[in-house]
């Protein structure tokens, strides 16, 4: 093979780049565990919507709440699962149960490198002493 050194070198580089995630994961000291979320500290058992829906779509729900509250002045949200009414408020409703942002919101967001701008304005609840 002509220019064998260069070609083999290129192929080695190609293989290294392609397998880099495997190396990276194997070599980083402790793998990031898949976040397991603690139940809400206040003992609440169910969310405004089913858990599976909330996991995938909570951002849509929050956006819808935001628009309803800010733009139409509507504040009550009736859950489609249990028919209960909730105040559409991030700080008063969501954070009432999920009072620990660092262990609730941030775990998954850090795991997935998601940086929602919510906390640029909304104030996270103070660490409970």
């Amino acid at each position: 093979m002509h220019d064998a050194a260069k070609i083999v070198g290129g192929l080695v580089l190609f293989a290294a780049v392609m397998t880099s995630p495997f190396w990276y994961n194997a070599l980083t000291a402790a793998p990031a565990a898949v976040p397991a979320l603690d139940p809400p500290p206040n003992g609440s058992k169910e969310c405004v919507e089913p858990r599976a829906y909330m996991r995938a779509n909570h951002m849509d729900l929050l956006n819808e709440w935001r628009d309803l509250v800010v733009r139409t002045g509507q504040r009550d949200y009736v859950s489609t699962t249990n028919g209960r009414a909730f105040d559409m408020s991030l700080s008063r409703t969501c954070l009432d149960c999920h009072s620990n942002k660092a262990e609730f919101c941030d775990r998954c967001h850090t795991f997935l490198a998601v940086n929602p701008p919510c906390w640029d304005c909304h104030v996270e609840p103070k660490e409970a002493p």
Partner: protein, 331 residues
């Protein structure tokens, strides 16, 4: 016709994924095994193809160039278009790899309407679409490292932040998503609309485009429409990239469509026209400096030329020559 066949093929693949997950419960197969096989096929396939290309004969330096060769000191040479040494060749190669320089020079022949006149018109649309497609695909690939890597490095977040600069939608719509799909649609439409291109297009040409569009569409659906629980998605993908078999659980069918189409693309790539990246590096018209007039070029497969001097010949036949009475230089 080719367009329809390919569309049916890609749609069939997507359907296979949906059915396999919904009916056969083959999540492990499609989510872990198939991508694994596809990945190995891809890496080994590319290596084999490159080695095959590497074995091809390179007969001579081929100076297909567009500029003045280096000659006399007072004549300006075009070092990039007609490199005299390795540095220029690297520059020309970089222009090719990063900016698709030869495609930039694409021209279209046009017959002016109503007049019998041919004109050569620069046509940059194909170049622009190719650049848009390839560069946005690179950014999209880099963005996907957030799923492959256990801990997301800062550079991935940087790419995400600038790609998602414009705050539209939640999660934010990435610029490259829009550019990628727009470029692919242009590349597809140009084959479908132009009769000349339609005539020379093969089913495989369409297949690649539909496959990429299918991958893009299923990804967009997962991100913006039928959202999936991406914690589970990352758990599966990062697990896969840590050589642990994690069956993706709790994610919808679009994920498996996405994964199957990507697997097909990976496995298909080494055997198709889509594998042209290493070829650029191996192109003799791109990777060789045009130094034919200054450097002696010897073909490596030529048999060794064994020279023989008169002195050696005389020595071998010394006795016979002497016996025959020939005059000898050496007694």
């Amino acid at each position: 016709m080719g367009a329809v066949i390919s569309l049916v093929a890609v749609a069939g693949l997507a359907l296979v994924a949906v059915i396999a997950v919904a009916v056969g419960d083959l999540r492990f197969l499609i989510g872990v095994v198939v991508p694994g096989i596809a990945f190995v096929v891809f890496v080994v396939g590319v290596a084999c193809r490159v080695v095959r290309w590497g074995r091809a004969a390179v007969p001579f330096r081929i100076p297909t160039t567009c500029g003045q060769q280096r000659s006399l000191p007072w004549i300006r040479n075009e070092e990039l278009d007609n490199p005299s040494g390795p540095l220029g060749a690297i520059g020309r190669m970089a222009g090719e790899v990063l900016l698709f320089r030869s495609l930039f020079r694409n021209h279209r022949v046009e017959l002016s309407h109503g007049r019998e006149k041919v004109s050569y018109v620069a046509s940059k649309y194909l170049w622009a679409a190719a650049m848009a497609f390839h560069w946005s695909m690179l950014v999209i690939l880099l963005r996907h490292f957030r799923f492959f890597l256990d801990r997301v490095p800062a550079w991935v977040e940087l790419v995400q932040r600038w790609d998602g600069f414009f705050a539209v939608g939640v999660p934010v719509v990435y610029l490259t998503t829009v550019v990628f799909i727009a470029a692919l649609l242009y590349l597809l439409l140009r084959r479908l609309v132009d009769a000349k291109l339609r005539a020379i297009s093969l089913p495989t040409d369409y297949f690649a485009l539909y496959l990429l569009l299918g991958i893009a569409a299923s990804g967009v659906l997962m991100r913006h429409v039928e959202k999936v629980d991406i914690v589970q998605v990352k758990a599966a993908i990062a697990g896969w990239a840590s050589l642990q078999a994690v069956t993706p659980a709790g994610v919808g069918g679009w994920y498996f469509v996405h994964v199957l189409l990507v697997s097909v693309l990976l496995a298909y790539l080494p055997f198709s026209k889509l594998l042209h990246a290493p070829g650029v590096f191996l192109s003799p018209t791109r990777n060789l400096a045009n130094s034919n007039r200054r450097v002696r070029h010897v073909n490596p497969w030529n048999p060794p030329i064994v020279g023989r001097t008169y002195a050696e010949w005389e020595e071998e036949f010394h006795d016979k020559l002497k016996a025959a009475g020939y005059p000898l230089e050496k007694e």
